[in-house]
């Protein structure tokens, strides 16, 4: 069986003056899957979405979205996609209802669909207020609702949860999962490994405008592992804790005298938090906190590229 790709790009390049935003980005997103483009600020994520969504013409390379070339047939692409940007792409002066009805009219979708989506995204109560009075989460939901009016084949989400509180974030995640279940292809960009892990079938790590690594969340996680960290009480010996983590993880620990922490990468799936606590305790090191969590984006890039990235 051959795979049909909803998004397929080869060697995408885009330069803004001296800044190379994209330097040969290759993407292949099979139809009906969720792809997370993961990377720090300035990696080229937003430029990639803008090129694929026909907002920006690439300087080099080709891209096809839903079977249409983004440069030669942008109209064909626009009929099949929807985009929710990092900055709300709704009109702040218009109410929620007015926004959705305007876009519904432009998409030749009945106005009832707008009301249906307002209800679905829990915006019925706020529907009569100007969108600029909405909270960040509500605005993002309205934005997403606007993108779903015409049931797009491919949905682009540029950092859909950046700056949102956990509750709003979960709401967006649920919506993305529902869409994916209905067969919509989703390409989202994010700075959060956790988000990519929770939502995506495939993760593409981008750095300096090109794909640095790609794989399923499971493959990526087994490759990069987790981050074990203990917080040593008061004047306790950091180096003793470091020796324990070194032995348990087989990786060089990182000491932070300021925060009184010792941490180390681990790729051993059998390593559990209770074991770390027992072993450190047995070594006579008093600890006040311990954690075993997915690594931050910083740590992922450190691990995969051997360099630190400013993932602020």
């Amino acid at each position: 069986m051959t795979t049909t790709y909803a998004v397929l790009s080869e060697g995408l390049g885009k330069r803004y003056g001296e800044v190379h935003a994209l330097r040969g980005l290759d993407l292949a997103v099979p139809e009906g899957t969720v792809c997370a483009v993961l990377g720090p600020n300035g990696a080229g994520k937003t430029t990639a979405v803008r090129v694929l969504a026909t907002l920006v013409r690439p300087d080099a390379g080709t891209a096809r979205v839903a079977g249409h070339d983004v440069v030669r047939d942008p109209g064909g692409v626009r009929r099949r996609i929807a985009v929710t940007g990092q900055y709300a792409s709704v009109d702040g002066d218009l109410t929620g209802t007015e926004n959705l009805r305007l876009f519904a009219r432009l998409l030749r979708v009945p106005p009832a669909r707008a009301d249906e989506l307002l209800e679905e995204f829990g915006l019925t109560e706020a529907a009569g207020r100007p969108a600029r009075t909405y909270s960040g989460g509500m605005r993002r939901r309205l934005d997403l609702a606007a993108s779903l009016l015409a049931r797009p084949a491919v949905l682009f989400l540029d950092e859909p949860t950046t700056g949102l509180d956990p509750h709003s974030r979960n709401g967006i995640w649920d919506a993305v999962r529902r869409l994916a279940a209905e067969g919509t292809t989703v390409l989202l960009t994010t700075q959060y490994l956790e988000e990519a892990d929770r939502l995506a079938d495939d993760i593409v790590l981008v750095e300096d405008g090109r794909a640095a690594h790609r794989g399923t969340p499971a493959a990526l996680k087994s490759l990069i592992g987790g981050w074990a960290e203990v917080v040593v009480a008061g004047p306790g010996p950091l180096d003793a804790a470091a020796a324990v983590l070194d032995r348990l993880t087989g990786n060089a620990p990182v000491l932070d005298a300021e925060r009184r922490t010792v941490g180390a990468l681990t790729t051993d799936p059998a390593l559990t938090l209770p074991r770390i606590v027992r072993e450190v305790d047995a070594a006579g090191v008093p600890i006040v906190d311990a954690s075993l969590r997915p690594p931050t984006l910083d740590e992922v890039f450190l691990r995969l590229t051997g360099r630190t990235e400013a993932a602020a």
Partner: protein, 259 residues
């Protein structure tokens, strides 16, 4: 074409809703000329060679045209303000006509201007100005006014889309108030030095103003004027149509290219 009309109407609806939600700016922009009308008519008018009542009849068409020329400013403000809003990105990714967004803006501006003309006409009438020509001629005058407004708005939209920021557009926009000063909108060009008079008479505002004065029956065509003023109706039509023909495609292209 039908797509352009349908989408343009939808965008027109967006702008009318915005005016309804926040009418203050539009009302202020549209009532400013009334202040000018009173100021020029009664303060400056007394210092001119023309008798006051005669000057006020001369001034009303001039201010109507100067107000229409203000489309340059309002078009620029609005386009520059929109240019950096996220909603423009959504419009650009929708399968809609490329010309619809600027067209809708220009049409909304035309509606606001037409509505703003009504109180100005009433104040003009109270000041003693009268439509002295025939009804068809008066309608033609209003038609020319709106066509000129539409043309100037397209120029403004292009400049607004091309401007770096809202502030830059604001500064450039405020500078456009000198344009009617370099025309026969407020004072006759006959008294100007030759080279300045030539510039003023080739200013599109002069052709439109003369045409409106002639059609309202307020003043005859001045003698020895440059071609557009000597043939005011043809001059006004040609100027307006030429501005639309040049600036509308440029504005649509600039909008399509994005930020």
């Amino acid at each position: 074409m039908t797509t352009l009309a349908y989408d343009g109407a939808a965008v027109l609806g967006r702008h009318l809703l915005r005016i309804r939600h926040a009418p203050a700016i539009t009302v202020m922009t549209q009532t400013m000329p009334i202040v000018f009308l009173l100021f020029f008519g009664y303060v400056f008018g007394g210092a001119l060679a023309m008798p006051g009542a005669e000057y006020r009849s001369y001034l009303v068409p001039g201010l109507l045209v100067a107000t229409a020329a203000g489309g340059l400013m309002t078009g620029m403000f609005q386009a520059a303000q929109d240019a950096h809003r996220g909603v423009m990105d959504r419009f650009r990714t929708l399968p809609m006509s490329r010309g619809a967004v600027p067209l809708g803006q220009a049409l909304a501006d035309l509606v606001a201007c037409a509505a703003g003309t009504v109180p100005m006409i009433l104040v003009g009438l109270a000041m003693g100005w009268r439509i002295e020509g025939s009804v068809p001629e008066a309608l033609a005058a209003f038609g020319l006014l709106l066509l000129f407004r539409f043309a100037m708005t397209w120029v403004g939209i292009l400049l607004g889309l091309a401007s770096r920021s809202e502030e830059a557009a604001g500064q450039l926009g405020s500078a456009t108030f000198v344009l009617p000063l370099l025309s026969n909108a407020y004072i006759p060009t006959e008294g100007m030095p030759d080279h300045l008079r030539a510039v003023a008479e080739w200013n599109p505002i002069s052709a439109v103003t003369t045409a409106v004065r002639v059609l309202f029956g307020n003043a005859p065509v001045p003698a020895d004027a440059a071609w557009p003023v000597a043939h005011p109706v043809a001059g006004a039509l040609l100027w307006s149509l030429a501005l639309v023909a040049v600036f509308a495609p440029l504005a649509v292209r600039r909008y399509s290219r994005g930020g």
